[in-house]
Amino acid sequence: MARAVTQQRKIINTVLAWVIGLLIFFPILWTFLTSFKTEATAIADPPVFLFFDWTLENYTEVQNRSDYLKHFTNSVIIAVGSTILGVLIAIPAAWSMAFVPSKRTKDILLWMLSTKMLPAVGVLYPIYLIFIELRLLDSKIGLTIILMLINLPIIVWMLYTYFKEIPNEILEAARMDGATLKSEIFYVLTPMAVPGIASTVLLNVILAWNEAFWTLNLTAAKAAPLTAFIASYSSPEGLFYAKLSAASTMAIAPILIMGWFSQKQLVRGLTFGAVK
């Protein structure tokens, strides 16, 4: 609002917002802090907030005991792999829908989105069977393909909305300048759409990284990404809060950082452009 706001109101807003913000963020903060405590400090009563002997031992411990790095690598391969694969398939499709629209374009787009709504549990067994048949169970390739398929509609959709913002005349100019379809997409469309493609990639890496139905049900020790690896910590025995916190911190830190960068695109991607 253009009007000056009283200082007092601004102070109240600030305090209120910060208190609520910190409250919501607190579980993450607490997990982060706990990851630097010893197991004994982690469950101390009363709880210790900041003044304890900070230690990195949990992080080395997690790595040594359960080969954290392997699962982290699995996560990276599956999340990034499925996203890149999806983007490669989606760019041509989004190009078609954005620049050569036909009467059916809208229906195809909506149909694609509707496949995203299919409840995974409804097709769990068939996929399970197919995976056994194709020996894809507990394999990174299998999971990459599944995650690519479940995110493909969102990738197509997001790229479509970004491509729509590029004027058709520029692509026609490229055609007049003698560009083939391949060079039109490679030299003109893609560089112009880089910001859009980047945010699409970012959001989909996040979604794939956090996917926790197929990753839990289709992997065992070998291909388990971090979602499944963390779930193996669910046994409540023993002193393990600090180590759980260390593992959790490592699992969410990269995605948290990416997420902060992509907040704006997030809305567009997750509401299918219905909220701007």
Partner: protein, 333 residues
């Protein structure tokens, strides 16, 4: 070199016929302007020639070769778009070089041609800028630069000046005409502005509702409009028309007379009327006169004429410059 022939070319979008079958001959080196009101099909016709749209019927020949099914890239034409359609992620240099790069030309030759084009268009100082850092006129010149480096068979311009302000538009009009004098390459230019058409064209093609109304030089169209539409479209301010008794005197359903072909008298002329609003341009004055039995008529007169709102005047048309039209709107000779 760059003669273009349209033979029975038509275009339909779904069931609407945007271009009715038409024939048109564009000679090599001609500057042809397609002009008409918006929605008349002039841009579609240009896009058909460019290959950005398929013809629904008929054939397009460039240099005698049928290119109706040739993709735009292979037709040897260059196009300047209304929005300039510059590649925003490339520098001016790369924009101009793009068609040459697509043609697979070697780097040294590309550099030579880009420098030459930049020199002609006074863009040399801006070669390393991005399109976003240029003014409207400069962008326009980059778009032209991008089209001339290829040495195309013909240039296509799609309302290239409509995004510029009035002063700049006048300058660019001259520049493009100058360019045509130097290159002597066929140019097809689409505009809705009849002033651009009159000042630039060697040959004007007037279109309405997907039909060619008339083809001719600017003066031919001005002197001998083939029908009511062309008569009303060409010329500024536009031609006055009269029907009824006034027209019957000349054996026509409608007569037309241009503002500049009317003489004003205090009294004793053919028609009588009252002066309404007058627009004073300094060089001329356009008077809107309400004539009994005819209606509102525009009269061009001297810049310093002494006349006021509500004065009664008498008007006489130049009989040699009266255009006569029959009931279907076609000019009578």
């Amino acid at each position: 070199m760059g003669g273009i022939t349209l033979s029975q070319v038509s275009k339909r979008f779904g069931t609407t016929e945007v271009i009715r079958p038409l024939d048109l001959e564009i000679n090599d080196g001609e500057f042809v302007v397609f002009v008409g009101p918006s929605g008349c099909g002039k841009s579609t016709l240009l896009r058909l020639i460019a290959g950005l749209e398929d013809v629904s019927g008929g054939a397009i020949l460039i240099d005698g070769n049928d290119v109706s099914n040739t993709p735009p890239a292979k037709r040897g034409l260059a196009m300047v778009f209304q929005s300039y359609a510059l590649y925003p992620h490339m520098s001016v240099r790369k924009n101009i070089a793009f068609p040459l790069k697509m043609a697979g030309m070697n780097k040294a030759e590309i550099a030579k041609r880009v420098d030459h084009a930049a020199h002609i268009l006074s863009l040399t100082d801006y070669l390393d800028r991005r399109p976003g850092q240029l003014s409207g006129g400069q962008r326009q010149r980059v778009a032209i630069g991008r089209s001339i480096v290829r040495e195309p068979q013909a240039f296509l311009f799609d309302e290239p000046l409509s995004n510029l302000d009035a002063a700049l538009r006048g300058n660019m009009r001259l520049e493009i005409s100058e360019l045509h004098q130097n290159l002597k390459t066929t140019m097809i230019y689409v505009t809705h502005d009849q002033v651009e058409a009159m000042t630039m064209a060697y040959k004007i093609v007037v279109l309405q509702n997907g039909v060619i109304e008339q083809v001719g030089t600017p003066l031919e169209l001005y002197r001998n409009p083939a029908n009511l539409f062309v008569a009303g479209f060409i010329g500024s301010p536009s031609m006055n028309f009269a029907t009824g008794l006034a027209a019957e005197k000349y054996d026509a359903t409608t007569i037309g007379f241009r503002p500049e072909h009317l003489k004003l008298f205090a009294e004793g002329g053919d028609w009588h009327g009252t002066v309404g609003v007058s627009e004073r341009l300094g060089s001329d004055t356009f008077l809107h006169v309400n004539i009994d039995g005819i209606g509102q008529v525009t009269v061009r007169s001297d810049g310093d004429i002494d006349i006021r709102y509500g004065d009664t005047v008498s008007v006489t048309p130049d009989p040699a410059r009266i255009h006569r039209f029959d009931a279907s709107g076609v000019a009578l000779q």
